[in-house]
């Protein structure tokens, strides 16, 4: 296979001997999935400066300084993210599509779709809007800049329920599924995602220490679990797409 083709959807979802496998449209979305998360990771870590998160235990003056020092990259990162945000819907729609193929049918797939659709607002949008509003007028009353800092970070790090609901229906679907669309062990990783969301609830109480929004348990354990979950999902989605018969009819 030529190196160029390996970068295309047809080269990404293949049979063992390198031929395109599954359905072409599912191949495109499956190829898009790691691409989007890669871009998303670069934006939130390197440009927007929300991961790893700035500290909760800083003075208002420090928060103002954070926005003035990182203003340009925050603006660049979040404007690009506002354009690309729909990628979240596309990747979540792909997972819902694969869940619909499970023997559990539509109900849990629709639950996943609903939880993740609503989660985009508290999980991504609000922090972007808060940080962009803070950088729009750096001369605003410092107390208001501080408010936007807290509002953005708490909504981004401690938005729990939408994702908990989605992980729960995903875990149930994978465990009950008899079509073996996803491997069973992935359900248990999804349960660990729920555990991290429950622990993250402590972010609304602590200003510092392991349970703060930048803490070793609330944040870093969650990052590790999320990375494992996402990495597994990338491989699993690719395998599921490759194993799907090209002529499999859609469930209604």
């Amino acid at each position: 296979m030529s190196p160029v083709r390996a970068l295309t959807p047809d080269g990404y979802v293949t049979t063992a001997d390198g031929r395109p496998a599954g359905k072409p449209d599912v191949r495109i979305m499956t190829w898009f999935f790691p691409l989007w998360y890669g871009l998303f990771g670069i934006i939130i870590c390197l440009l927007a400066r929300v991961t790893p998160p700035p500290r909760p235990d800083v003075s208002t003056a420090d928060k103002v300084a954070f926005f003035s020092q990182n203003g340009l990259t925050i603006q660049l990162g979040f404007v690009v993210l506002l354009v690309l945000l729909g990628g979240a819907a596309m990747t979540n729609g792909l997972v819902a599509y694969q869940m619909k193929r499970m023997s559990t049918g539509s109900v849990l797939a629709y639950g996943y779709l609903a939880g993740m659709s609503v989660g985009a607002l508290p999980g991504f949008l609000l922090v972007g809007v808060c940080f962009l509003t803070a950088t729009l007028r750096p001369d605003r009353d410092p107390e208001l800049i501080g408010l936007l800092y807290d509002l953005g970070m708490l909504s981004y790090n401690a938005s729990l329920g939408c994702f908990t609901a989605a992980y729960l229906v995903l875990a149930i679907a994978v465990l009950y599924d008899r079509n073996n669309i996803f491997p069973k062990w992935f359900a248990y990783i999804s349960v660990w995602q729920i555990v991290t969301e429950v622990i993250a609830s402590q972010m609304v109480v602590f200003y510092s220490g392991p349970f703060a929004w930048n803490g070793s348990i609330s944040f870093w354990v969650a990052v590790v679990v999320f990375s494992v979950w996402l990495g597994a999902l990338i491989v699993i989605l690719r395998n599921a797409a490759a194993a799907e018969p090209a002529d499999e009819p859609d469930m209604d």
Binding site: K23, L85, G86, M90, G128
Partner: protein
């Protein structure tokens, strides 16, 4: 549309009737939203991001009633446009040469996009709720309202891309939408992309009151709904004939 007597109670007829109602909800809701937009003082002309805090506060104090009317109507009726987009989802699911993956991704994007729109109404309304609040707070709420209203175009962009992909893949002898709809959808997506920069620029065409971010963006979205009304009307009618629900 005259549904044939003998199929009135069959599921096919119910499906067509529901789509027809949702289709016609588009122009009805669109008219209400146009009235709300015409009544909202903040759009004529769109409020400048360069207004000082005191003037923003005075604007809310002087136009409180019409701001409330405009934004309550947006809040009450804005999400009523979602059933119209559900007709697009249903028609995407009828397209050949593809699974339903584009349709479900599209559905996810419509729902997320709707939540963003709803949030902007809340910020406008809270600012108008107590216009005697400190001007800095009114300006903050106004900034949040405008940025949420104009800038987060990602969910819309992905809808236009997904629709274009779905139309491109629809390889049947009798495609659900004509091929130009895909290109038109992409063009609308391109037209709205610059408005993401409204969260950064306070002057010029990219500011939230600017030519690109306000007029081109909102004009392209309104035009898309109008064009899709006729595209969907044709598609649903053809489905009705193919399903034997109306006389061909």
């Amino acid at each position: 549309m005259q549904i044939l007597e003998r199929v009135q109670d069959l599921p096919n007829a119910g499906n067509i009737k529901a789509q027809w109602v949702c289709l016609w909800s588009g122009p009805a809701v669109g008219l209400v939203l146009l009235i709300a937009a015409a009544a909202f003082p903040g759009f004529w002309p769109p409020m400048s991001p360069t207004l000082p805090a005191e003037e923003v506060a005075r604007f809310y104090a002087e136009h409180t009633a019409w701001i409330r009317f405009g934004q309550v109507t947006f809040n009450l009726c804005g999400i009523l446009v979602v059933p119209f987009f559900m007709v697009i989802v249903v028609q995407m699911k009828r397209m050949r040469g593809q699974s339903h993956v584009f349709a479900y991704c599209y559905l996810t994007a419509v729902v997320s996009g709707a939540t963003f729109f709803a949030l902007s109404n809340v910020f406008f309304l809270v600012a108008a709720f107590r216009p005697d609040r400190s001007p800095d707070l009114i300006q903050l709420l106004n900034d949040l309202a405008w940025i949420v209203f104009i800038a987060p175009i990602g969910m819309l962009l992905s809808q236009f891309v997904l629709l274009a992909l779905a139309v491109r893949f629809d390889n049947g002898p009798d495609p659900v939408f004509p091929p130009w709809v895909g290109w038109y959808s992409l063009a609308t997506g391109v037209a709205i992309v610059p408005s993401a920069a409204a969260a950064v620029f306070q002057t010029g065409p990219l500011a939230w009151d600017g030519l690109l971010s306000f007029w081109v963006r909102n004009g392209a979205l309104a035009a898309f709904v109008v064009v899709m009304f006729f595209v969907l009307r044709r598609a649903v009618l053809r489905q009705a004939i193919a399903d034997g629900v109306v006389a061909g």
